[in-house]
């Protein structure tokens, strides 16, 4: 009798444990985190093997370069290359891979080829914040403005200016962001000379101490203005158009009619009933947009000589600074994945339906 009781007990514990595991696995937050981690792992692995297995293996190229330029003996060149790439070239590929991952977990991304002695990590730390700042600010402004304008267009579909605004939005959304950047630079900066583009170069003016001072804050906004403006112009069109159609769709929903029948004020209906629901599809779109805009920062920062991570990456690309390139790409991916994660949570906060999605059954 007792053994039977015990076995039922263990069985029930097993079941409850299994249930518990299942509940965790189906939890929205856990799933999101797992996906983010998996993505980061996937990209690091992809990069590792790409760099090593490409026909023109950059490590070999660099070793040859050292031999030719500095007439180093092969062994020495190889050692130097290995230390810069933070890997042991003598080990088998699988060992190299494990080492590389371990190094990464310790935050070691190797050293720059072109400025020896500087760790890739340190370069990233100096340049990345500016990109996060300018891209984040640009996307925030364009998203908020776009949502507002889009809603306004949906509410004022009969207005004479509606097709004009929609037309501008449609044009802005189709033109590549760097084209917008170049046009801004050429006209505002050069042709009409309204904007002091030369002074605006860089991410901040030399000699100004960083800190929470008005001078510093004003300065960083001054330098970020043109990239931010470009990000706003190049993304706002699609926000406007999506928000417009999404709002029109939401206005036709039954719950909006019912809310009117319930006598709710137009303000409450517009914000909590129409606005909030119409915004949902845009948050998903924001996810894709973050990656796209960060990718575009390579070009935009180059155009305005804004010293963010994109600017540094393009420099690393043209000088074939592989460890730096690899590190920056990894960091860009991680930031995009993380911002996606944040956006996912924001979405979950906005839409209760996804919080349980997949949780049942």
């Amino acid at each position: 009798m007792s053994s039977a009781a015990v076995s039922t007990l263990t069985v029930s514990r097993k079941i409850s444990l299994w249930k518990w595991v299942k509940r965790i696995a189906s939890n929205y937050v856990v799933r999101m985190l797992a996906r983010a981690l998996f993505t980061i792992w996937f990209v690091t692995t992809l990069i590792f093997f790409l760099v090593r297995l490409m026909p023109s293996n950059p490590i070999e190229v660099y070793i040859n370069e050292l031999i030719v330029q500095y007439s180093l003996p092969y062994e020495q060149a190889r050692d130097q290359a290995a230390s810069l790439f933070a890997i042991d070239l003598n080990a088998p590929l699988s060992k190299q891979y494990v080492d590389y991952m371990v190094q990464l977990l310790h935050g070691n991304l190797g050293e720059s080829l072109r400025s020896p002695g500087t760790s890739v990590w340190k370069i990233i730390i100096t340049f990345l914040p500016w990109t996060i700042f300018s891209v984040g600010l640009g996307l925030l402004i364009s998203f908020l403005l776009g949502v507002l304008i889009g809603m306004l267009l949906a509410y004022r579909r009969q207005a004479l200016w509606e097709p004009i605004v929609s037309g501008i939005a449609s044009i802005l959304s189709s033109i590549p962001n760097y084209i917008i950047g170049i046009v801004l630079l050429v006209y505002l900066g050069v042709y009409w000379g309204i904007i002091p583009i030369n002074q605006m170069r860089g991410s901040r003016s030399p000699g100004i101490q960083p800190g929470f001072t008005w001078v510093f804050i004003k300065d960083i906004f001054f330098h970020a203005a043109m990239p931010v403006f470009t990000y706003v112009l190049s993304t706002i069109g699609s926000w406007i158009l999506s928000m417009k159609s999404s709002t029109i769709g939401t206005l036709g929903e039954d719950y909006v009619t019912v809310a009117r029948a319930r006598g709710l004020s137009e303000g409450r209906i517009t914000t909590a009933y129409v606005g909030r629901n119409a915004m949902l599809p845009l948050i998903t779109q924001l996810l894709i947009s973050i990656g796209f805009v960060v990718g575009g920062s390579i070009l935009i920062e180059n155009i305005f000589v804004y010293q963010g991570i994109g600017y540094r990456l393009s420099a690393a690309l043209t000088t074939r600074d592989y460890p730096l390139m690899q590190g920056i790409f990894l960091i860009i991916t991680i930031s995009v994945v993380l911002s996606n994660l944040i956006a996912d949570f924001v979405y979950g906060w906005f839409d209760p339906r996804v919080r349980v999605a997949g949780g049942e059954g």
Binding site: D254, V258, A261, R262, G263, E266, Y273, R276
Partner: protein, 357 residues
Amino acid sequence: MKKPQTTQQMGTQVPLTVEDLWVEYQIERGVVKAVRGVSFNLAKGESLALIGESGCGKTTLGVALIRLLVKAARIPKGEITYWRDNQGLDVLSLKESELRRFRWRECAMVFQSALNAFNPVLRIWDQILDTSKAHGGMSRHQVRERAMQLLEYVQLDPRRVIDAYPHELSGGMRQRVLLAMSLLLDPQILILDEPTTALDILTQRTIIDLLRRLKEEMGFAMLFISHDLATAAELADRVATMYAGSIVEMGPVEDIFYRPAHPYTLGLIRAVPTVTGDFENLASIPGAPPDLVDPPPGCKFHPRCPYVTEQCRVKEPQLETHYSETHSVACFNVKRVQQDTLDLQERYAKYAGGKAQ
């Protein structure tokens, strides 16, 4: 001056009078006359069913009563008056802000698609609170208390439902929540637009039973819009048949079902199969409802009517009383229709027999 007299004539309180109401939509092709000169009263505690095929203007009429028509629609003519303590409220002359306060407090409307009646991103409680806040007068605590009571009344577990999101509730539950919410401000009139159509048959049953209980216990007037005659028969005191935007027949529920005087009502009844599966007398009405942009001359039903005469093609019949003071019909050939309604008795007898087995 005319309406208070009607009130006195009926000897009861009349919370709603509608007088010669017209509703038009502007579409590309022209003007759709969706409601054409509808007049009726709704007495206190009474339940009036509006029946007819889809597209006959019954939903438009329902929505017009709380002036919730789409932008393209307008009311060129007519009067809608709500009465409370002998004070008339002319709905068509209300300003936007007055209208907002009027809605739901005087007249609540339960819509067809309860599935989508709630904002998916707000909890039921927030939506109930929204409703109450929009009208004021109750503290948060009072609202909570009342909401719990009402949810309990519609046979839901208030604790589970009130903090739920709409997607966590089934269609039937949502419909009941909406019913509970419609009672929140204690309106005099409840408009129910096909409240059971989107539900499965068992849930329909519970909702109908609930509505019956509500009607008996709460004592408000109900305007019940349906194309389902069985439901109408069960819930209504009076029935009005609508065709092409007009009421063509109106009378006590027994009169309408046992002695319909309009060919269209008769057609509708004939089109309902009995539970016994007796199809021999089952007949659908040939043709389709008329184009309301360019309706036929004379009686709007004449192209589909088996009793049609020359007169029907030129002149539109008006509602006139028939059988009794309370039963009116708009048809020139009432006598001939009447002949044909005799078999209905037999049919019902069969139905009752089938039910008994």
